[in-house]
């Protein structure tokens, strides 16, 4: 069986026939070819698959694509500006070296943007607590937390804006 699923991904309307059991992350990576969203644990623990659905961070490996029918999805490919300049959160991760191998980074950045939106000027403790849904197997948390703290203090309005 196949169903038609339509949504807006990074500002672009998309519509495809998929199997009902297609996960949102499979739809994003395999149907749309947006491979910036990663599959890490595939059991909703690691957060590498984090995207925004209607402005909220969710784990795209833990919902079926049909749940996102009609929703606005933003992936890591959709956060930078049109001219290629980085989103302030991406810039902060770059400046503070908030990554080691880089596998968790797309999910970390997507989660961090949502974090700062809901917790403006978070404390280090708040960041660590609210980042519980994202795992870095390199254990590079120190610089990730530093990057998020810097991004939130630096230009919170710009971060919140997206």
């Amino acid at each position: 069986m196949a169903v038609k699923v339509s949504m807006t991904v990074n500002g672009k309307a998309v519509s495809h026939e998929v199997e009902e059991r297609t996960l949102l992350v499979s739809f994003i990576r395999e149907t749309l070819g947006l491979t910036g969203t990663h599959v890490g644990c595939d059991t909703a623990q690691c957060g590498a698959c984090t995207v925004h659905m209607d402005g909220r961070a969710i784990k795209s490996c833990n919902i079926v694509a049909m749940q996102a029918e009609g929703a606005k999805i933003t992936t890591i490919e959709g956060v930078a500006n049109a001219d290629g300049t980085l989103h302030p959160m991406q810039q902060a991760f770059k400046e503070h070296h908030g990554l080691q191998c880089g596998f968790c980074t797309p999910g970390m950045v997507m989660s961090a943007i949502d974090l700062v939106k809901n917790f403006p000027n978070p404390t280090e403790e708040q960041i660590r607590e609210q980042l519980e849904g994202n795992l870095c197997r390199c254990t590079g948390y120190h610089n990730i937390v530093k990057a998020i703290k810097a991004a939130s203090a630096d230009s919170s309005s710009a971060v919140v804006g997206s």
């Binding site: 059991r21 996960l23 784990k59 919902i63 079926v64 989660s111 974090l115």
Partner: protein, 265 residues
């Protein structure tokens, strides 16, 4: 994941009809447990009936000294609600500590309570506050709702539509998290309600349960010391690689004491 049919319900009535028509169909709320268990092939519904579009089930109201919450309200919404924070701060705090932020953005109170995972947080709040659960067919007191591991009083085709939590004089929830999964190894919800103190425990046994001895002691004196020496029997508690039953029993007392402390702050 096994193949299934998918149906997006436009209303609760439509969802109820779809469920009645097919005994193997399952309701999909936020899906944070259901989709995960389907991926592991632990669950094989013929059809998923998605409540995601039924906005009538997403609400928070505080009136008549009670907090009413629609079944499809997400944990994140409850946690961030200024009204819930003001009326029952312990309930907002509990919602804000379920799973992780991404899970809280999808997971719903109705889904969590209908599943009745033995380590879920919401059942402790429902029983601890003496909530009433409204379904498409009736109203059920929380004390009568949770029957055991993943078992509830819900009949086939019956759908939870909302919850009513009476405002307590004071309440708090403390949980000892499994260090890896972050699920409640033991969670204790303590409340001083209009009908007296209530103590509800999750994570420790096959399902949520009350500790009457602690409630009696708290009725005499609502202090941490009142529960500090009250032990629950380990006989029916869970034993697994994360914790033996006697350790869980020990944690019930410790978490109850901390919850009373927190409630008094």
């Amino acid at each position: 994941m096994y193949a299934f049919n998918y149906k997006k319900a436009q209303s609760v009535d439509e969802a109820a009809k779809s469920l009645s028509a097919d005994g193997e169909a399952k309701l999909l709320a936020g899906g944070q447990s259901l989709v995960a268990s389907m991926k592991l092939r632990l669950s094989q519904p013929s059809t998923l009936v998605d409540l995601g579009r039924v906005d009538a089930l997403r609400y928070i109201k505080v009136e008549n000294n009670a907090v009413s919450i629609g079944a499809m309200t997400t944990h994140a919404t409850v946690a961030a609600s200024a009204e819930v924070k003001k009326a029952i701060p312990a309930l907002a705090a509990l919602a804000g500590d379920i799973g992780d932020r991404q899970v809280r953005n999808m997971g719903t109170i109705g889904g969590s309570v209908a599943l009745n995972d033995p380590a879920a947080d919401y059942p402790a709040a429902c029983v601890g506050l003496g909530a009433t659960i409204t379904t498409t067919q009736r109203e059920i007191a929380a004390d009568d709702f949770f029957l055991g591991m993943y078992e509830t009083a819900l009949q086939p085709g019956e759908i939870i539509t909302g919850f009513s939590f009476p405002v307590a004089k004071r309440a708090a929830y403390m949980k000892f998290k499994n260090p890896a999964s972050r699920f409640a190894l033991v969670g204790v919800f303590v409340a001083e309600t209009a009908q007296g103190p209530r103590v509800a425990v999750t994570g420790a046994g096959p399902g949520v349960f009350r500790v009457k001895d602690m409630e009696t002691a708290l009725a005499k004196s609502f202090t941490p010391d009142a529960v500090a020496s009250i032990k629950v029997p380990a006989d029916n508690l869970n034993s697994d690689l994360h914790a033996q039953a006697d350790y869980r029993a020990h944690l019930v007392t410790v978490m109850a004491k901390r919850a009373v402390e927190k409630a008094l702050k």
